[in-house]
Structure formats: C-alpha cells, structure tokens
C-alpha cells in the first residue's frame, strides 16, 4: 500500500509538472527606429506572432520587430 502511494504520488508530480510547464511564452520585443532601438515591452503568444509577421507600423512606416535578448 505504501509503495503504491509513493508511485502514484510520483506519477502525479510528473504529470503536474508537465501540465504547468505548458504556459505561454513571452519575449521582450523592440524595433530599430530612425533614432535607435525602440522597446515595445513584453509580448506573449499570438501578439508576438502578429508583430513578427506584420511588423510594427509608426506613421505609415512599418518596422521589423525583433523579440529576443540583446
């Protein structure tokens, strides 16, 4: 009985860690503007995907967005 409890507890711990690890990933994003780097702050999930694929538009100018460490 004791062995069974230990095994079940260990299994539950592993499953729990797997589930909690599936979280949205967030990144600090920026673009290279005319006066240097402009920070856009932390972006997550679909927002990151949209920024990277469509860029960031300022006054009809679209800039390539970078979401990684400097």
């Amino acid at each position: 009985m004791k062995n069974k409890s230990i095994i079940l507890s260990a299994t539950a711990a592993i499953i729990l860690s797997l589930l909690t690890s599936c979280k949205k990933h967030c990144h600090d994003c920026h673009y290279d503007g005319p006066n240097g780097e402009v920070e856009l702050g932390e972006k997550c999930g679909d927002e990151v995907e949209e920024l990277e694929s469509k860029g960031y538009t300022v006054s009809d100018t679209s800039y390539t967005v970078h979401c990684h460490e400097h």
Binding site: N3, I14, S17, S21, H25, H27, H68, E69
Partner: protein, 755 residues
C-alpha cells in the same frame, strides 16, 4: 478413401492456402518444451569450496537474472537444455556455462580481482570478452552522474579512442577514432536511432534516464550494423531487468553550480516470473554556463524532459519487449550570429539567463519498438520492429516563425536466425529501414529537400572455436535508394549497393588475450552532401552539395594485446583505417551575400592510423586503490591532410580512486573518493580554414557517500576543472569564437533508493 472424398479434402485444403504462412509461427509456439521443472545451481569458490552468495546468474536466452542465496544456490524454472548461463560474482572470474541435462549441478568460480571474461554481446554472437574477436568497450551509465557528467557523449569520452564534440553544454555527439555525425551509428537496444546527426549543431538526441550501459565498437562495423557504420557504433542499452522477484524505485537529483543547473531523475523497475517493467524519466534545466574570469557563454542554456520504459514478457520459449523512449529538448545555439563583424566578446555576457532566446533549437524524439526472441535447444529466432520520429525546429530570427522545421520518420525492422552446435555459432539476418525526411510548411527556409531513403541489408556470420583460437567472421550486402521528389528543382533518384565483410580472431592464453581483426564499412552520401544549397548559419557559410559524390569505403586492421594479473591490466590497441572517397567540405573562391561558399567534395585516399593504450593497477598493499591511465593517439597519414578536419587531440586521462566502502562503518559510509585528470596535447594536423589548438590539462575530484544501515541514501559530488583552467578543445564547435569550456564547476547530488 473414395476419390470423391479425396477431392473434397483437397478443395478444403486449397481454400486454406492463404493461412499457410502462419504455420511456422504456430509450429514455433507448439514445440514441446524441453525443459526441466526446476533447476538449481550451486556456486562455490574453486579454492575453498565455500558457497558464493550474491553472485549474479544471467540466463542469456531469457534475459533473466537471479542472485545466489546464502548457500550459493540459484534456482531457475523453465530452463532448456542447451541454454547458456553467464555467472558473475565480485572477486571471481566470470563464466558462461551451457546448461546440461540435469536438475542440479555445481559450478566452481576461480577467485580473481580482474576478470577478462565479462559478457560481450555483438551482432556476431554472445560470448565472454576473451573469446570475442572484436574488441568492444562497455561503460556503466547508471552512475555516470557521480562524476558530474552532463550527457551520454561526455560519459562515453572516458573510453580510450572516444571523444565528445560539443557545441556548448546542451549539444554533444560522440566522436569515435576521429569520426562523428553521419559516420557513427547509434543503436537504442536493437533499433537503429536517427536524429539528423548530419548537422554539426545537432546532438545525440537521447537522454540518459533509464539507460543502463553503453557499448562502443570502434571502427567500421557495417557487417552487422549496415551502411554508415564507418567510424563506429554506439549501442545504448536500457537498464537491465532486476533479478526475479525484486523491485526498485530510485530518485535522484543533482545541482551543477557552473550552469546553475538542476537535474532530477527517477527509475522504477520490477521483475516477476514472467513480466518485467522499467519506467524512468527525468528533467533538467541549465542556464548559460560560466567560463573563467566570471563571464558566461551567451545562449548556452538548455532544458530537457526525457522518459523511457519497457514491458517485457517471458514465455516458455520466448521473450518479448515493448519499449518506448522520448526526449524533448530546448537548446540555445551559442556562437550564432548574422553579424559579419562579431567578435568573441559579443558571445560572453556578465549575467547568465535561463529562458530560451534566439537562436534556439527544439528537438522532440519518440522511439517505439518491439523486440521478440524465440529460443530452442540450439537455435534462436529474433524479430524486431520499430518506429522513430524526430522533430527538429530551429528559431533563428523570429521567436514565432521557425527558420527550419524538419520531421524525420524512421521505420525499421530486422530478423535474425542463430544456430549453435558444438563450438560453432552460425547466424543469418536481414535489416530494413525506410526513412522519410519532410520540411514543415511553416518554416522560412529549407536546408535539405524532402526525401525518402530505403535501406535493405542481409548478412551471414559464423563464430568458431578451434582449440585456443576463436574466429568470428561474416559477409553482408546492402542496398540504399534515395529519392527526392521530381516536382522540385533538386530532384534525385539514386541507388547504391555495398558489400562488406569482417573477420576477427582472439587467442586467450594464460594472462594474455591477443586479438586481430579486419573489417570493412561503407557510407552512402547523405542528402545534405548531395543536395545542400543554402545558408548554414551555425557554420557561417553557404553550402553547396555535389550529387556526383560516391560512397565512402573503409577497411580497418585492428590489433590488440591485453595482459592481466591479480593487480594489473595493460592493454595496447594499434589500428589503421583506410578510406576511399572520404567526403568533406571545402571553400571555393565565391561568396554569396557576403558569406563564403563551401562545396562538398571527396578525397580519393585517406588513411587514419592510431592507437589506444590503458593501464589499470591496484597495488597489493592497497587492494581498494585503483590507478588507471588511458592514452589515445590518432594521426592522418598518406593523404591530402587538408581534407579532414576536427581531428581529436592526443590525450592521456588518469583516474585515481580509493574504494572505501569496506572500511566505513556506521550510518555514514564513504564509498569512494577520486581524482581525474585529462591532458591533451596540441593539435596541429588541421584542414582548410581550420586553426590549430594548444595543449591543455584539467583536473576533477569526486566522492560518494552512503547514509543509513541499508545505504538507501547516496550523496555524490565533486568539482570539475578544479583549477578553473581556460581551455578550448579542438573538437568544440565554438572554437571559432574563442569560447572556452566551462570553468570550475562544483556539483552535488542526492540519490534515494525508496524501494
């Protein structure tokens, strides 16, 4: 019988013709069991005739272990006449016994501090090490973390002739006698494992949780392992089943301070009379590792999650395994940049980080296999099948859109029939592999096109004992077809064929074992080498394939001499490996968008010559003191030396260890303390665009302690690179950015045996 009745029976029989093929299998299952109800074996010391307790007795056909009791008795059920039993006991010479037709017999073991008769399982046969014509090195991986080893290639580098080629901490692959990547075949138990190893920035792809041991075959081994086994073979074995009736649950965790890295693993095993199970898993997380002068290697961080398990059923004449393993890793790619003006300082940072950033590699590997063995008095039949999926995704400039996304599907199967009579063992087998490489549509680039590869190989081998000489030999034929679909500009359809052979002799005499072998191997050009046409950012170059490349052919002559006494073992192993059509990559005078263009080509003749040596000594006055030194030397001779890059540095490694478990008493027992040194000489034999590497030396220390009367808790720890030496190994993929290996690294771990 009336003619009409005969006709009726004939028609009935004809309708059943489609099920004729199952008759052989039914016949196998229905063969009367020629076995004794229960057999007991008594183990005794050959000198004192005292019973030997705790000896491991392994029934080879059933893959079943049992331990001898206090009276030295081991009892087996369902054991066939002609079955083989391997007996191993601490302080005694191991033996293989062919089970006689009796229910009770005695085996006397000869006391010995060093055994030359460890079990060796090769594709040609199962025998003791002294009778194997081919030298195979085996290493225990269950406790590799005790020496602070991070991954399997690092653990394998303890073997003479084997190195680890690293790209930071998270990416490593084994190098055997100077060959790596596509020239080294990796086996997971009986299945070949493929994980895009053609890339210099692609690691071995397998975690070490649940892996019990590794065997390394050095040099060409295409006879049994087929095409690509040019440089050697690494065979990773799951943890062996426990002795019948036992179970075990072990959890361990370890911390490494140089990368603020944590690793946790568990393994559960249970062995019954018929069923046996293994479940193992683990996770690790490492930040950027520290280098001397308080800096850190930018983006050398990695995390992984791994698991493996098997369920095994042992029938009266058969044993079956279903195995599954997975590995999911997220690895930073250090040293990667699009900046043509980057300097080494750009890749060294003052604060380590852990979260993944660009560029990064996501790897997911799943392997499922089924292994079946039916065995009889003098023969065996093996039937194995498996499937492996490898997903390799690289993010280069965007975190949401991969630059590279490939999937490799691998279908494998193999069969083998073995027949033994007197001193002869014959085998015949076939292997089949179908591989599909696909580029996923969401990736921005394609480095190699979609392709399918189909292999088929068939072989026969023979192992014969003629007096004191043991001879193993065989021949093999392989075919490979590579198809790249014709709707692309890189369409290709190529067929290759290769013939291989091997012959090995061993001559054990007194304290000596002499071996010599001649073996061939061949490697078919990979799709990368044939059709590459793109930027390889990790190598800062544009690569062009060459569809006119021919297969490589290798022939190796290997000789070895081992001498063992009660206190000393000395081994010398020189070899020569001749290769035709050695494929390599060389620069051209062209540039593509500022990047140099490299093209794949081949050298007509290349010859490697080298040797390995080892000395293991434990003095009479201190039996528990072990002093071991290994040496490895590899040179390129008689060829265009500019064609071969990444030649390992000459190396001497030493290990001095004191086993204190016999002296420690009470609740706290020191099991062992040791120091290890690695000394590498400069490497000046370099290829085009390669720089030489200076000599270096490192020093490590380690210990392990057991707690409690039942020794359920083990503490292990140590320090790697005690002197904080700044060094860069010649095989490092980060040499071009002058990134050193990790600095001083303290590590500490706890292992708890719950059951």
């Amino acid at each position: 019988m009336q003619p009409c009745c005969i006709k009726r029976y004939f028609h009935t029989f004809a309708r059943l013709k489609n099920i004729y093929f199952i008759f052989p299998f039914i016949a196998f299952l229905c063969i009367p069991a020629v076995f004794n109800a229960q057999v007991s074996i008594a183990l005794k010391d050959a000198h004192t005739l005292e019973a030997i307790e705790g000896a491991m007795v392994y029934q080879l056909e059933k893959d079943e272990y049992r331990l001898s009791d206090a009276l030295g008795i081991v009892a087996f059920t369902r054991i066939n006449e002609g079955s083989r039993i391997y007996i191993e006991a601490l302080g005694y010479e191991s033996r293989i016994i062919v089970f006689p037709d009796t229910t009770q017999f005695t085996v006397e073991l000869t006391p010995s501090h060093i055994s030359m008769k460890e079990l060796t399982v090769t594709g040609i046969g199962t025998t003791t090490r002294d009778k194997s014509g081919f030298r195979i090195d085996k290493i225990d991986l269950k406790n590799s973390s005790a020496m602070g080893q991070l991954n399997i290639p690092e653990a394998l580098s303890l073997i003479p002739g084997v190195y680890s080629a690293n790209l930071g901490n998270g990416i490593a692959k084994p190098v055997i006698r100077g060959m790596q990547g596509m020239r080294v075949v990796t086996m997971l138990n009986a299945m070949r494992f493929e994980a895009q190893q053609w890339g210099g920035d692609h690691g071995i792809g397998i975690g070490n949780a649940g892996v019990g041991s590794a065997e390394v075959i050095k040099g060409p081994a295409s006879l049994v392992y087929g095409a690509d086994a040019m440089g050697g073979v690494v065979i990773l074995n799951d943890m062996s089943p426990l002795p019948v009736g036992e179970k075990s649950l072990v959890m361990k965790t370890q911390y490494q301070h140089v990368s603020r890295g944590a690793m946790s693993q568990f393994s559960y095993q249970q062995s019954g009379q018929r069923w046996r199970f293994l479940f193992a898993g683990g996770a690790s997380s490492h930040s950027d590792f520290g280098i001397p002068k308080h800096l850190y290697a930018k983006n050398s961080r990695f995390q992984d999650l791994q698991g493996r398990g098997y369920a095994s059923y042992s029938g009266d004449h058969s044993v079956h395994y279903v195995r599954y393993a997975f590995n999911a890793a997220t690895t930073g790619i250090p040293g990667h940049t699009h900046d043509s003006l980057a300097t080494p300082a750009d890749f060294q940072i003052s604060q380590p980080r852990r979260e993944w950033t660009l560029p990064a590699q996501f790897i997911r590997n799943h392997i499922v296999s089924q292994e079946n063995k039916w065995y009889f008095s003098h023969s065996e039949f093996h039937l194995n099948a498996g499937y492996a999926r490898n997903n390799l995704i690289e993010f280069d400039e965007k975190v949401s859109i991969p630059s590279l996304s490939m999937r490799l599907d691998n279908f494998l199967s193999n069969i083998k029939y073995v027949y033994r009579f007197q001193q002869v063992e014959l085998s015949a087998g076939s292997q089949w592999m179908h591989q599909i490489n696909s580029n996923m549509p969401d990736a921005e680039e394609e480095l190699i096109p979609n392709s399918t590869t189909t292999d088929f190989g068939t072989y026969i081998t023979a192992a014969v004992t003629l007096g004191d000489v043991n001879v193993q030999s065989g021949v093999r034929m392989d075919t490979r077809q590579i198809i790249v679909p014709s709707d692309t500009s890189l369409s290709l359809r190529k067929n290759y064929q290769g013939y291989n052979y091997a012959v090995g002799l061993s001559y054990p005499k007194g304290n000596w074992i002499f071996r010599t072998s001649l073996a061939s191997g061949f490697r078919i050009p990979h799709v990368t080498e044939l059709l590459a046409n793109g930027y390889h950012h990790g190598a800062l170059r544009f690569e062009q394939g060459n569809r006119f490349l021919n297969p490589e052919y290798a022939t190796q002559v290997d000789c070895s001499a081992e001498w063992s006494s009660e206190h000393t073992t000395i081994m010398l192993n020189p070899y020569v490996n001749h290769i035709r059509n050695y494929i390599y990559i060389k620069p051209t005078s062209e540039r593509m968008n500022g990047m140099p263009v490299f093209i794949y080509t081949s050298a007509k003749e290349t010859m490697f010559a080298g040797g390995e040596a080892s000395v293991h000594f434990h003095p009479h006055f201190a039996h528990d003191l072990h002093i071991q030194f290994n040496g490895t030397l590899l040179r390129l001779i008689n060829s265009d030396s500019a064609s071969v890059s990444l030649m390992p540095q000459p190396r001497i490694s030493g290990d001095i260890r004191y086993d204190l478990s016999a002296y420690s008493k009470g609740q706290v027992r020191i099991d062992q303390i040791g120091i290890r040194t690695v000394i590498c000489d400069a490497q000046r034999q370099i290829a085009i665009e390669e720089t030489s590497s200076p000599a270096y030396a490192t020093l490590d220390g380690y210990f392990s302690i057991s707690l409690g009367t039942k020794r359920r808790i083990q503490l292990e720890g140590g320090c790697k690179n005690i002197t904080d030496t700044r060094y860069i190994d010649h095989l490092s993929r980060l040499k071009n950015i002058e990134m050193p290996f990790p600095g001083r690294n303290f590590y500490f771990g706890i292992q708890y045996k719950i059951i």
